[in-house]
């Protein structure tokens, strides 16, 4: 039976190390493990050129090379006769391999050590399956492809939503219920400070709203930086290295002014998909599974479809929200005058504490300080996105495209704990401040 490279998808996940054997000009064999093999087309593969010097020298002296790939689903071994063609050190294929290698390296605590300098392209002359005592049916071949009808249903639901909150919730619910993702997180991108902030999650003990991802070497930040999906199919190696995956420990929010990122502590597979609209990365969808190799190429394509749709819908909702220009006065609030809500605004990072409890920092923190200040000075509780965006006192970055989602983040963060202050969404592009007492805000440098 002829084996096609397309049939070997489970071998290109980097789960089980591949093996490369070469021979010197005098026939002396050499054999070593190999970190990354990528399929180029039906008859070519690319190897990350991080060979030992002897392997590299042998390939130049004798282009006949033998490779062994192992299917990460069932352990089936394949031997490929290959012939060296050329090296590449730029272009889309090189970037794809470099990005995946970088993400994989970071997961095993070797970020910066395994930088890709070039990739070698080989023609595949022949591929054969190694005989085995274990003649088991491949689980991969028995798995059903991603359900296009389910993707269609989620997409339709997203189409019916008009506001960022509904779009994000529908997306998360669809990923969880229709596509079977055990957990999912939506993060939105702040281009000004290069931070990705969690605005919604599903399938975790703690929602982690407001948690931030900054480390450029991790999966999520890499997907955003490069506008490409990245996956890890077996995290057991990372565990062996004892490396923390994202924020393994739960930080003390109040001491560290940071919120724990929501993730599965026992995840085996991770996938980060950029949310791209109008050519710009708006955020990232991060999904995890406790299964090894949970995300195949068709699963990735399904999440990518929904990511693009949701990104476009959010961008559109931002524009619509900005059009609301008038507010209807809300019912006067009967504040409990005897109760004072002590709020501290730390100007250096715009972090906000209510009492001793950390709320949020950054632009969202500045927004909350602004709203409370307006209330104290003008007695107003009702605001529109438009006036907030135009306010010069806010020193806001260009929020034209993501003010609505900043306010959504702030609103959800305030709802996530029994804070005495809440934001009520009163209509498209409109919010009302709701409080259980009289605020007293103090700004400290």
């Amino acid at each position: 039976m002829t084996i096609r490279l397309a049939d070997l998808q489970g071998c290109f996940e980097g789960v089980i190390p591949s093996i490369i054997s070469t021979a010197a000009a005098d026939g002396t064999p050499n054999i070593s493990y190999l970190s990354h093999v990528a399929m180029v087309d039906d008859s070519h593969i690319a190897l990350s050129n991080q060979f030992f010097a002897k392997t590299a020298a042998n390939i130049r002296a004798n282009p006949l090379v033998t490779l062994m790939l192992v299917d990460g689903n069932d352990g089936t071994q394949y031997v490929l006769d290959i012939r060296f063609e050329r090296s590449i050190d730029d272009g889309p294929l090189f970037e794809r391999i470099a990005l995946q290698l970088r993400a994989t390296s970071a997961q095993i605590g070797m970020a910066g050590i395994m930088r890709l300098k070039s990739a070698d392209i080989f023609e595949v002359l022949f591929a054969r399956r190694v005989p085995s005592n274990a003649e088991l049916e491949s689980e991969a071949s028995g798995r059903r492809p991603a359900n296009l009808a389910a993707v269609g249903r989620v997409s339709e639901s997203i189409s019916n939503e008009t506001e960022a909150s509904g779009i994000i919730d529908t997306l998360l619910d669809g990923l969880h219920r229709e596509l079977g993702c055990e957990s999912a997180v939506v993060l939105l991108h702040d281009a000004d400070c290069g931070v990705l902030t969690t605005v919604g999650s599903i399938g975790h003990e703690a929602a982690g709203l407001g948690s931030e991802v900054q480390n450029k070497d991790n999966l999520i930040a890499s997907a955003a930086a490069h506008g490409r999906s990245i996956k890890i199919s077996d995290l057991s190696r990372a565990r062996r290295f004892g490396e923390a995956i994202l924020n393994e420990s739960r930080p003390d929010e109040n001491a560290g002014r940071s919120i724990a990122f929501p993730h599965l502590s026992d995840a085996m597979s991770q996938l980060a998909v950029p949310m791209i609209a109008q050519g710009r990365v708006r955020g990232v969808i991060f999904v995890e599974s406790r299964e090894r190799m949970a995300f195949r190429d068709d699963d990735v394509a399904a999440v990518e479809l929904l990511a693009r749709h949701a990104a476009s819908a959010i961008a559109l909702s931002e524009r619509d929200a900005d059009e609301a220009s008038t507010v209807s006065a809300s019912v006067p609030l009967q504040l409990a005058q005897s109760v004072t809500i002590q709020i501290i605004h730390h100007a250096f990072d715009d972090s906000i504490f209510i009492g001793n409890d950390y709320v949020i920092k950054g632009v969202a923190g500045r927004l909350l300080a602004f709203l409370i200040d307006r209330y104290l000075k003008e007695g107003r509780r009702d605001f529109t996105n438009r006036e907030i965006r135009l306010s010069e006192s806010l020193r806001l970055p260009d929020l034209k495209d993501n003010l609505e989602t900043r306010l959504l983040l702030l609103r959800r963060r305030l709802d996530s704990k029994p804070f005495p202050i809440r934001l009520i969404h009163t209509g498209r592009g409109k919010i009302t401040l709701d409080m259980d007492g009289m605020p007293a805000i103090r700004t400290v440098e």
Partner: protein, 156 residues
């Protein structure tokens, strides 16, 4: 070449073992060994492998008398490559028993590291075993890191 104590200690750990050979035309080949043991001769090792699973490895050793073996600790990634002349021998009952013991030990080690048994089943095969006695003449460090590729081991 005699193996120093460091290498001898390393060989006592549960290791993944791969074998590289080449035919007379320079086409390389790959095989897995199911255990590598001290030979009766100093400076020699006896990897056991399945001719049923790796017929090219057997054919190439028979034709060229050359073999490269890389041994890697699946937990620490510490690795060595050993090269030299090699020849084939039938596996004696004690070789088969040692190879069976190796399969049991490496299977347990891989499971401890989170590799499920269904994955290792196709690799751990010593059906129709042969011994490829290797006269070690070169040893290289293959552990990823600054010493990778350096010669290791020396005459004692």
């Amino acid at each position: 070449m005699q193996l120093d104590q460091g290498v001898k200690q390393f060989l006592k750990q549960p290791l993944m073992i791969i074998m590289g050979t080449a035919d007379r035309a320079g086409r390389p080949s790959i095989g897995r060994a199911m255990g590598v043991f001290d030979s009766e001769m100093d400076g020699h090792l006896d990897p056991v492998f399945s001719i049923w699973q790796w017929p090219d490895t057997a054919g190439n050793i028979r034709d060229t008398g050359r073999l490269a073996v890389t041994l890697a600790n699946p937990s620490s990634y510490a690795s060595y490559q050993m090269k030299g002349k090699a020849w084939l021998q039938h596996a004696k009952p004690e070789d088969i028993a040692r190879s069976d013991g190796y399969i049991e030990a490496i299977d347990a080690e891989l499971q401890r590291l989170g590799v499920p048994p269904k994955l290792t089943l196709p690799w751990l095969c010593n059906r129709e075993p042969l011994v490829a006695t290797l006269n070690v003449s070169e040893i290289y460090v293959q552990t990823p890191g600054p010493r990778a590729g350096m010669a290791a081991g020396h005459a004692q």
